[in-house]
Symmetry: C2
Subunit: 195 residues, 2 copies
């Protein structure tokens, strides 16, 4: 069961369990404070299996962030798919971010949390965070540029700054109020471009 279907796949039941478990625990409890023993125990996998699929803990962390990156890209695409106008798409993305903040188990931004544990700019984990953030900034800026004629760089940074603040505060203040403030702030930016 669960055998590769021939191609150069990297799928297996054990690997998938490993990645799912690592994602859950790393996001909920942090990275440095969780040992590989915890992960292999909860993934019901042996130590040897972990090191057969990953070169070490670091590669598992990178896979975790890759997983998170895919999730967020899918979330953004899903939000955009429901709207035609650029303004509608920005609002939809903001709403989907707010939905995440309100969800049970929300623990802030996986990337901001990870980078707090990897301050060294040369570290692969740090670089993965930077890459994800650059993609998000570019995506938002490009979307805003389609609303009105004004340059969108500043507004893009503004929206991302609100997002970062909302993600950071979402599990430290009342999530409901945080979402209200965030959505209001994004709405101001969108409206200022629509005018």
């Amino acid at each position: 069961m669960s055998r590769d279907t021939g191609g150069g796949g990297s799928t297996s039941a054990a690997r998938s369990r490993l990645l799912t478990t690592a994602t859950r625990i790393f996001y909920a409890e942090g990275i440095h404070s969780v040992g590989v023993d915890r992960i292999i125990a909860e993934a019901q996998v042996t130590r040897a299996t972990l090191y057969r699929h990953f070169t070490g803990k670091e590669e598992l962390v990178l896979a975790y962030l890759g997983q998170a990156d895919l999730g967020i890209r899918a979330q953004v695409e899903a939000a955009r798919a429901g709207e035609e106008s650029a303004a509608g798409q920005v609002r939809a993305v903001a709403r989907s971010i707010a939905d995440g903040i309100r969800s049970p188990g929300f623990r802030g931004c996986a990337f901001l949390n990870a980078v707090a544990e990897y301050p060294d700019p040369a570290h692969p984990v740090h670089r993965a965070v930077l890459a994800h953030r650059q993609w998000f900034l570019d995506t938002v800026t490009e979307l805003l540029a389609r609303i009105g004629d004004a340059p969108a760089d500043g507004d893009g940074r503004h929206v991302v700054m609100l997002r970062d603040g909302a993600m950071a505060a979402g599990c430290l203040f009342d999530p409901e109020l945080v979402c209200e403030t965030f959505l209001g702030g994004v709405e101001d930016v969108v409206r200022s471009r629509e005018a």
Copy 2:
């Protein structure tokens, strides 16, 4: 030298060196990833001395955050002292935050970084972060309330959200652009209340 001056003081050269070193290293590299060996080595203090002044690493972490809290309160007071009007004080506080972000060695908000490593809301470190944040939110909201007549709760949260986003992004994007966006956002809020 460096003897207590009689009262129930908690000052000593070794303790001070310990706290200064811990603050520097914890802020620059994170908490879980640095061991007490690093700290006592760089503080030029023996292991026994650490445990004579602190019950353990956790108390050292709490002392580090206490240090950071005092620093920020002093920074806010200094900024406010130079301005008379409430609006001027808010602008001054924002400028002083921006100055911090532009400073060399800026590694984000010590409290946001710490809470990323201590997600458990019941943990003393997590609670210390919440307490600091509540003070800051209250301070900003109270200041904004003195500008105009509109309720200031929402605007206070808005400014804190911009600050959180700016502090998070300040060491991940170009600090100069981050500060520009941050100061612009705060200015918008202040002006909307002055009108």
